[in-house]
């Protein structure tokens, strides 16, 4: 089972797509590891994750930090700090 990855705002623009399904190796078990693994895929992903301090994440629609666990079947979203309201 894959991980569904969503991108929002400028991460979406830099990656060039709103979402993708990925199947990282089993040792990719946290948000931070997944981000690093995605960043290493190609230049577009690298650009999206180039400023780790500006990247926030959610796992299954709950805000999550880099140490939060991820597993196949999860929905993981990456985005900049929110600016609604």
């Amino acid at each position: 089972m894959a991980i569904r990855v969503l991108y929002f705002a400028w991460l979406r623009e830099r990656v060039g797509m709103p979402e993708e399904s990925v199947a990282p190796p089993p040792d990719i078990a946290t948000v931070g590891a997944l981000a690093d693994w995605l960043a290493a895929r190609d230049a577009a992903h690298a650009a999206a994750f180039a400023e780790p301090g500006c990247v926030r994440a959610a796992v299954n629609q709950d805000f999550a930090d880099r140490s939060a666990p991820v597993a196949p079947g999860d929905e993981v979203a990456f985005f900049p700090p929110v600016t609604g309201g």
């Binding site: 959610a58 979203a77 900049p80 700090p81 929110v82 600016t83 609604g84 309201g85």
Partner: protein, 145 residues
């Protein structure tokens, strides 16, 4: 009473206030955010599903914390022109203090805890993603928790 909406369509603030005024409280607080020049166009993106859940959590926290009779949070998405309404946060309580504090709480938390992102196009045509403000993070932290 809890009314949460994420929508492209405009909304009528008066209707939200009427609904809250009907709950038997003495005070209703309200904040209305509008697109402010020199922004020529504002585009609001959100995370469908998570957005509604986050807004509901924020509204429920406000109801519990300020003993509200109800609250309304409406947030628009999509493209908005200057002067257009973006967001409404409103709260009904027995007295004015709780109603106004809850209103500030709702909008402070929305700024930091709901997955919306704003892209501005300025009058010169330049586009940029709005950056999160340290002041918003500080306002959110001021509520504790």
């Amino acid at each position: 009473m809890l009314r949460i909406a994420v929508q492209a369509a405009d909304f009528a603030p008066g209707e939200a206030l009427d609904a809250l005024a009907a709950l038997g409280g003495g005070g209703i607080g309200c904040f209305l955010g509008v697109v402010r020049p020199p922004v020529a166009c504002l585009t609001l993106e959100h995370y469908p599903g998570m957005t509604e859940a986050a807004m509901r959590r924020i509204a429920e926290a406000a109801v519990a914390r300020f003993d509200l009779l109800g609250c309304v949070v409406i947030h628009r998405v999509g493209r908005l022109a200057p002067g257009e309404r973006i967001v409404l946060a409103a709260a009904a309580a027995a007295h004015r203090g709780a109603a106004l504090e809850a209103t500030a709480f709702l909008i402070d938390w929305l700024k930091t805890d709901a997955p919306f992102w704003k892209k501005e196009r300025l009058e010169g045509g330049e586009e940029r993603w709005v950056e999160a403000r340290a002041a918003d993070v500080a306002a959110r932290k001021g509520w504790g928790v």
